[in-house]
């Protein structure tokens, strides 16, 4: 985030959102999680 010019970058939430998906992907073996993150453009 800093490299892209943002400040105050923060992952606020993580979700186990891939549990029991109808068609599981091989990507799940890498510990895939959903996240919500925020940041701000400097003034």
């Amino acid at each position: 985030m800093r490299a892209a010019g943002f400040e105050d970058g923060q992952i606020v939430y993580r979700y186990n959102s891939y549990v029991d998906v109808p068609d599981p992907s091989d990507a799940l073996e890498f510990g895939t999680q959903g996240i919500s993150f925020r940041a701000r453009k400097p003034v």
Partner: protein, 203 residues
């Protein structure tokens, strides 16, 4: 996905596969994907049902985000919001209610079937403050310092050059503007052969 390995795929190739996948999500949201969709997914991601009361069922059904931009901070009346990769319009339609008639929401997507569904949803809601345009996440047809808030949900992980994409999102934000994004992370190192597997990028 992040590693020093440069994937042997191009964004153009990836774009073709993403369009195929998300056209299916628009047309047949309950088919069964690598991810949950619709109301069940919204529940997993902590969306308050009151937020999307009034959003047409078809637009809810094709929701396929990875996080919850609305849990990260308020969207205020009168603000300008840009939704990057707006899909069937679920988040944009929520944002349109939050910004109210004095605000404005622009959703960008590259999948025709999603754009059609999102526009139909806005029309059904009578939402005159939201529009859906064709556009790419890495090259947005907007001026600098345009938006109060940029939201996106499940898009950044499908971009090969994440730093450049984030820089583009920063460009369109006003100084002090907020980025509120749903995405994914992986807890373990992704091997090079997996990074070259285009199917793992789209689902």
């Amino acid at each position: 996905m992040s590693t020093h390995h440069v994937p042997k795929i191009s964004q153009a190739e990836l774009r073709v596969e993403i369009k195929k996948e998300y056209a299916n999500v628009a047309l047949d949201p309950t088919k069964g994907y690598h991810f949950h969709t619709g109301r069940r997914l919204a529940g997993i991601l902590g969306y308050d049902e009151a937020l999307y009361a009034g959003v047409p069922e078809a637009n809810i059904a094709s929701f396929a985000g990875t996080g919850n931009p609305f849990a990260l901070g308020p969207i205020n009346p009168g603000e300008t919001v840009v939704d990057i990769g707006s899909g069937a319009g679920f988040d944009s339609l929520i944002a349109s209610r939050l910004v109210g008639p004095a605000g404005r929401v622009i959703g960008f997507d590259m999948t025709d079937e999603m754009l059609k569904k999102a526009r139909a949803g806005a029309a059904a809601m009578g939402a005159a403050n939201v529009e859906f345009r064709e556009g790419l996440a890495e090259a947005l047809p907007l001026p600098d310092d345009f938006a109060d808030v940029v939201i996106s949900n499940g898009v950044l992980n499908m971009m090969l050059d994440k730093a450049a994409t984030l820089a583009e999102w920063r460009r369109i934000l006003k100084p002090g503007g907020r980025l509120q994004v749903g995405d994914i992370l992986v807890e373990r190192e992704v091997p090079a052969d997996a990074l070259d597997d285009i199917s793992l990028w789209t689902g």
